[in-house]
Symmetry: C2
Subunit: 257 residues, 2 copies
DNA sequence: CGAAGTGTTGAAGGGTTTCAAGCATAGTGG
DNA sequence: CCACTATGCTTGAAACCCTTCAACACTTCG
């Protein structure tokens, strides 16, 4: 509960009345064990689910039998806000660990937004933040090698977890199987295994009983290649060379060096 | 302008005062020619841009020199709403054709949302819609072959364009080079070429002077494989077999056949 | 102890990339 | 009007990253 409230407050300035409204709306909480479907693709969308505790994921099954996980959901994340918009669910949601989930009716959310504009703003900011994360994953899937993709995901998770807590001394619980990592990264289980081994061999990470330890943040970030500055290793801000100019110019990828 | 207003109205019920507010905020319009950078990655984010006419894209450049286009922007799309959230731009935006763009200050958007809750709701719905599109692209990039990805993109564009207009008789203007298609789909230019040829050879599509003609919607949708029902070929709704059940069950991909 | 899930390893095969070159088309200036 | 150039499209061959298949080891748990 607290993590969701913190998240909302980080997004928009909320007063006590808004906070109370949220807390009231989240009164309906269910507890699920690991590997349980929360919503199924194609189902009518009548509720919004907020992940209070545990890890979960959105996933899509392909006709040929494959699976893709377009989003990992961490404590405080909203699992399926698009229920406000769509009649039918465009993806399924399943737990990865034991979870605590708040169930809200779409009507209630709509009503709350109409009454408290700041709440709508907070939800919008959350959706935009998710959008940025998906953009990065998109870039990763489209243009990075397996090694880069794995490194990038590990950095992203460290970033997202450090917002709340954890990541103390550069290690965090990673309750994902290699098969699930593969479904996130668009890789086969076998190849995920080999890439993790290679990262271990290079003394960048260490894995032990469902925990990931990052031995070399700079090195891992370098492999990840883009948009991957852990909160710790802040480094020099705006390290990019050259001044940016306003529009009415050639696109960057066509500029002379 | 009209396309943006229509889009907003489709997302949330807007009164005359909201519409006027939007129209007032969009009074600052600039005209750009094709292949022009609108915003650059890393730049401070002080404005939000709305694409009134023409095609544009978000893009990210990778250290090794590659490029990924995580989003194609069509008339009525908001190019960079996340400027409301981030200090620095997480991606660049460039025009693909000549464009008309409204430039809004972030402050103005924030103020409008505070005054008109329905407007915030509309923007939220727009962001969620974008999110669903990115989810689909994500699945496509992660788990589909080049052929499937191309088919999927062509279907997606048909869908998005048919919301507004166009797509009459199953053809639409597609002002993208094969290199740009590759940057959207995470493929090399060469392979995009070969895949398009193969789709042509199978009498699924036809390409002529920057227009795409779909000869066989069912066939193309079948290649695309998932989530790809053009508004035309609506077909039998909910064609999936088996009834969906509520949660507290095993995830779908582990269910016995 | 057996069973199931997860991690690990090797070998073969294939989808895609890269490199390199040739072709087509449109715009430009002499 | 015609080189001349630039841009995008097309094609072939070699190389590579990753997948698939198959088997085995390890751990957990009933």
């Amino acid at each position: 509960m607290q993590k969701f409230l913190n998240r909302l407050r980080a997004m928009s300035r909320l007063g006590n009345s808004e906070m109370d409204a949220v807390e009231g709306a989240c009164r309906d909480v269910i507890r699920l064990e690991a590997d349980t479907d929360l919503v199924r693709e194609g189902e009518p969308a009548e509720h919004v689910h907020v992940l209070l505790e545990g890890w979960a994921c959105r996933y899509v099954l392909l006709p040929e039998g494959g699976r893709q996980i377009p989003a990992l959901l961490l404590p405080g994340d909203v699992a399926d806000l698009d229920a406000l918009l769509a009649q039918r669910r465009p993806y399924a949601v399943a737990t990865l660990t034991a979870c605590e989930v708040a169930v809200l009716s779409c009507q209630a959310v709509h009503a709350a937004m109409a009454q408290y504009p700041a709440l709508g703003a907070a939800l919008l900011m959350g959706a935009l933040h998710e959008n940025v994360i998906m953009t990065h994953r998109n870039v990763s899937l489209g243009r990075q090698s397996a090694r880069e993709r794995v490194a990038h995901l590990l950095c992203e998770l460290a970033n997202r977890l450090s917002d709340d807590d954890a990541t103390t001394k550069g290690a965090y619980a990673l309750p994902l199987t290699q098969a699930e990592l593969g479904d996130v990264l668009g890789l086969s289980t076998v190849h995920v295994n080999r890439v993790l081994q290679s990262l271990r061999a290079d003394a960048l990470i260490r894995v032990a009983n469902r925990r990931l330890e990052v031995l070399d943040w700079n090195g891992l970030g370098q492999v990840a290649g883009f948009h991957c500055r852990p909160a710790h290793a802040d480094a020099s801000r705006s390290s990019r060379s050259g001044a940016w100019r306003t529009y009415a110019q050639q696109p960057m990828h066509q500029r002379p060096a």
